[in-house]
């Protein structure tokens, strides 16, 4: 049963990850792709690629029938599901096997056994794995607080809610149930104790058909935002040997209990508290993920094992690999998202103009300490609204935890990422945070962290943007090519360029002079050299080299002082194109799912006018002030970012617009 060609029923970085190992092993590769993904690198890198018409997951990556048909047409003899989508769908696994293909994953029975969290907990408890008891919502008391309401099916934080007051419980249960029903098609939820300052620690296992279970240490994934992991590391910091042993042994028992085959992860909640008698730790089984995890590379780094290769060999009937008994060094991974942490983690979509991460490896296994980039996107890729907004994972393996964190922060800081707002700056600050460096990580850490971060002085980046743009304009001149920029024989005023920071914040006006001696500013900042893509400034005797990329009216600037992007605002706005004041614009592309204010009615500040669903999240659009509302959209309407959704006129009489008639 030798696999010759693998189809990856997934997209983006995980597809590229599987392809990398497959190519190394001499196995052919097949991609499936939705319309929106047709330009992404995983499609062109595959030996063969099959289109799945449409964009929504339901039309594409969740269509098991189309994927099996694609495997048949492309001559694939095995299917790797990646993570997410159909990776934990026992029905799909059965269909793959029924189609005579090799399923690179656990048996459908294992998936079923762990698919229901309620049933799984009972099973694990019986096998001797430490498990918290469930709380019956109807019988809950103050003593049970705080508690967690969770969906029995699925994962990723959806359908999960923390309850701190008994009064909120019924409502939260209902909301969680609704969310679970819409996300996973199963409304079942359950309640369990919630551990404040709890840590999420998980154990990697690989089982084979010969009854072996290899335990590959643990990972700490406590740094989460809204139950989605952000920073992951191996081994977990500050765990006693006793707890570590409890976790490893629990994982082994869990895998053995269901005769697990393939790579899987057993997740635990760990809560440690210092008492006068020493440290006590509570450990409880959360769930088992019957698939490869996003964060698998940190385990690969410290154990020197290619987990995808292990999956393939086990699927072929081989044995689980042998591994060192202890991890070597320390590995840390971050998930780089196209999202705005300061704006409630709003996902971003659009063109990723520049994506250059100075990592040494791409998907390959570490041979020495260093950095690795697992990315689904490249410069110029379009990030669509249809799927998860994760751009890439960056992994660093170092001799110890402190040096791994330092190196990763440096790699991220030197990365050139432009076109979309990302969580990069937040990640860098997390990796340098003293508490985190001290190992004080918990799942609620980010809840109290300053997400926006300090505003860094960017006046040198602003100037570099303006100078680079002036150089570009000079090169594009139709007349007077060699004449110095903004030359004047009578100087009456500075040149003015208005910049709007794309990351948000106030518009700023850069005042500058051109002329015989080159660019000048009112202060003593010196322009040492300037081209359209590089501007060297001298600020207080320190030279700063800025790398600039100009795309139409947008300037992306990187330097040793940081990165910034600006839109250079036009000097003139055609009044016919101006939107009237009080216009509420769509913050992102999406669908109007509800209109709650009547057109022409009077509204109060903060009143919800309509709801937009975008990127699987609902955004309420509310009135900025008291006034009369004019609704510009209808329920079900698709809108693009920047479209006018409604106009609230603050004066009593409705706005007339006879000029443009």
């Amino acid at each position: 049963m030798t696999i010759t060609r693998i189809l990856v029923a997934n997209r983006g970085e995980i597809a590229r990850r599987v392809f990398t190992t497959a190519r190394r092993l001499g196995i052919g590769t097949v991609a499936v792709y939705s319309d929106a993904d047709s330009g992404l690198p995983f499609v062109s890198e595959a030996d063969l690629a099959v289109r799945l018409p449409g964009n929504s997951p339901a039309e594409t990556y969740l269509r098991g029938d189309l994927i099996i048909d694609a495997a048949r047409r492309a001559g694939a003899d095995a299917i790797h599901p990646g993570y997410g989508f159909l990776s934990e769908n026992a029905g799909f696994a059965r269909a793959v096997i029924a189609a005579g293909l090799t399923w690179i994953g656990p048996t459908p029975e294992s998936i079923d056994a762990m698919g229901s969290k309620i049933a799984a907990k009972e099973l694990m408890s019986a096998a001797g794995v430490p498990v918290f008891g469930q709380i019956d919502p109807a019988a809950a008391t103050e003593a049970d607080l705080p508690m967690l309401v969770k969906a029995s099916a699925g994962g990723g934080g959806r359908g999960m809610r923390i309850v701190r007051s008994l009064a909120d419980l019924p409502g939260e249960v209902e909301l969680a149930s609704n969310e679970a029903a819409s996300a996973f098609g199963d409304a079942t939820v359950f309640c369990e104790p919630y551990l404040e300052n709890g840590r999420h620690v998980e154990v990697q296992v690989v089982g084979d058909t010969h009854g072996n279970v290899l335990v590959l240490g643990e990972r700490d994934c406590s740094l989460q935002r809204r139950h989605q992991k952000v920073v992951e590391e191996a081994p977990a910091p500050l765990l006693s040997d006793e707890v570590r042993t409890t976790l490893h042994e629990g994982a082994r028992l869990a895998a053995a209990a269901i005769s697990y085959v393939g790579a899987g992860t057993v997740e635990f909640m760990v809560s440690t508290s210092s008492t006068p008698g020493g440290e006590t730790a509570k450990v409880s089984f959360l769930e088992m993920n019957t698939r490869l995890q996003v964060e698998h590379p940190v385990t690969e780094a410290v154990f020197g094992i290619d987990l995808v290769e292990a999956q393939i060999r086990v699927a072929e009937g081989g044995t689980a690999p042998s591994a060192p008994t202890h991890p070597r060094g320390h590995a840390v991974e971050v998930r780089l998202y196209a999202e705005d942490p300061a704006a409630d983690y709003q996902p971003q979509s659009g063109v990723l103009d520049i994506f250059e991460v100075p990592a040494e490896l791409a998907f390959e296994q570490f041979a020495t300490y260093g950095s690795r980039l697992d990315s689904g996107f490249v410069s110029g890729s379009e990030v669509s609204t249809h799927y998860d907004a994760m751009l890439a994972k960056v992994i660093v393996w170092g001799p110890d935890r402190a040096s791994a964190f330092r190196t990763l922060a440096g790699v991220l800081e030197r990365a050139r990422i432009h076109g979309l707002v990302t969580n990069r700056d937040l990640l860098v600050r997390l990796l340098r945070d003293e508490k985190i460096l001290a190992g004080e990580v918990s799942t609620d850490f980010l809840g109290t962290f300053d997400l926006a971060g300090p505003t860094v002085g960017t006046s040198s980046a602003e100037r570099a943007a303006v100078v680079a743009a002036a150089e570009r304009d000079r090169a594009a001149r139709r007349v007077q090519h060699g004449i110095p920029v903004a030359w004047r024989n009578v100087v009456s005023q500075p040149q003015r360029t208005m910049l709007r920071p794309l990351a948000g914040g106030e518009d700023t006006e850069v005042l500058w002079y051109g002329g015989r001696d080159g660019y000048r500013f009112a202060d003593d900042v010196v322009v040492v050299s300037a081209t359209a893509d590089q501007v060297v400034l001298e600020v207080d005797g320190v030279r700063v080299t800025h790398t600039v990329r100009l795309i139409d009216d947008v300037a992306h600037v990187d330097s040793g002082l940081g990165s910034a992007s600006y839109r250079m605002l036009p000097r003139f706005v055609d009044p016919a194109e101006q939107v009237s004041a009080g216009s509420l614009l769509a913050p992102m592309p999406g669908t109007v799912i509800a209109v709650s204010a009547e057109d022409g009615s009077e509204v109060e500040a903060g009143q919800t006018l309509l709801v937009l669903e975008a990127m699987k999240m609902q955004h309420s659009i509310s009135a900025p002030g008291h006034g009369v509302v004019e609704i510009a959209v209808v329920v079900g309407q698709q809108v693009a970012a920047g479209d006018v959704l409604a106009v609230v006129s603050t004066d009593a009489e409705p706005a007339t617009n006879e000029e443009s008639a």
Binding site: A470, D473, R474, R477, R478, V479, Q480, H481, G482, I483, P484, V485, A486, W487, R488, N489, V490, V491, S492, Q493, Q495, T497, G514, R516, R571, F572, D574, P575
Partner: protein, 528 residues
Amino acid sequence: MTTETERRESMLTKIADLDAQTALAVLGGGERAVERHHKRDKLLARERIELLIDPGSAFLELSPLAGWGSDFTVGASVVTGIGVIEGVECLITANDPTVKGGASNPWTLKKGFRASQIAEENNLPTVALVESGGADLPTQKDIFIPGGKMFRDITRSSAARVPTIALVFGNSTAGGAYIPGMSDYTVMVKEKAKVFLGGPPLVKMATGEESDDESLGGAEMHARVSGLADYLAVDEYDAIRIGRRIVARLNQSKKGAATSGITFADPEQDPEGLLDLIPTDLKEPFDPREVIARIADGRSGTNGAVFDEFKPLYGNSLVTGWAKIHGHQVGILANAQGVLFSEEAQKATQFIQLANQIDVPLLFLQNTTGYMVGAEYEQGGIIKHGAQMINAVSNSKVPHLTVVMAASYGAGNYGMNGRAFDPRFLFTWPSAKSAVMGPAQLAGVLEIVAKQSAESKGQEFDAEGFSAVKAMVEAQIEEQSMPYFLSGMVYDDGVIDPRDTRTVLGICLSVIANKPIEGTDRFGVFRM
């Protein structure tokens, strides 16, 4: 001999003074008038121009010191210059409403006429930024009759297929109403532009009709009723935006030699060195090749030599030869020893003919004390030879550029293409002096004549008494030969920092190329 340091210090002092004089023009009607104007949500003349021209492009202001030394504000209540709008070189004029409401005085008129001449000679579309209270009435005798030329020039430009555009920001009444009236395109700013022949008081006096500004000449009325306004702008920015769109659609292209895509090198010598060249005493000559090395293109793939000198061994008080400036080939005539002899005059005549034969513009670098005098030279035919040179300069049809670097005395001013010979552009360095002769010589000549006159009348010449007259005349000539004075009279297009010479010439050569460059083979009879 002066040292480089002395020359540099002297030149820097003169440049600082130039900046101070120019600042007067920028200040316009003064701080309070500027503040009042801004408070009305209005932009200054130069602010309007800065918005009108392409970002990062150059603006060559013309005659900024017009009116210097007169009773009127330096700058003559109007800004004129050449700017690039949507990639098209345009002649831009902007009234300065902070100076007596932008009213025109005799210097305004003279400066405006010069601007129209430049537009006409170089095929430049004109954009007028209008806000003027009309004529400065106390000086109406000097402006009413000649002022009609302003309107004549607009429509003649239009007839010559060179478009004219008026952006009206404020008052443009009475005679001023004909500026938008004669222009090809007119934009008026809502609630600000006011364009009528007669205002309410005049109408009341003339016909008894009761009226108001808006019904007589408001922007809305002209855009919707009279049709005088082609575009109604919501504000000043919008008017400028519309003005730029109009120019973008003018379908302009250069008729002369194209230089786009041609690469060229910077000068081989640092232009900064120009400050060290000009002796403080103009009697001391300097080598103009040092100037050429600092303003001409350096060697590159398309330029094998900086300066190919013509007739280097003949008439070496005048340097002639070919160079390139910003990729444009030019023929250069530059005084080397001040004095022009017969050989120099003949060499110049031949060189001007050569440039006409091959359609190459000429650049005159002036530092001349005039044609040589004395029996030997008169007998050698210096008048004939000087006349040949003036004949060639006068009838040459390739564009001429003149830079007065230092001395410009006597007929040397004519032969070296002074203002009367209509160079396309003439700029002056702060070190320049122009007069019929040097102040000391002129005073000395006066003394000799007075002495002869006294003697012929049998009177005794009062040498001591005359020395006071002599000193006064010398001072007066000295003052009147200074660059600001002559620039104030609009006898040049501006006084420039020598280090900007290459840039100014580069702009001028680019502007010149808007019209075909064609030399002539028809000169006056050369007296041999």
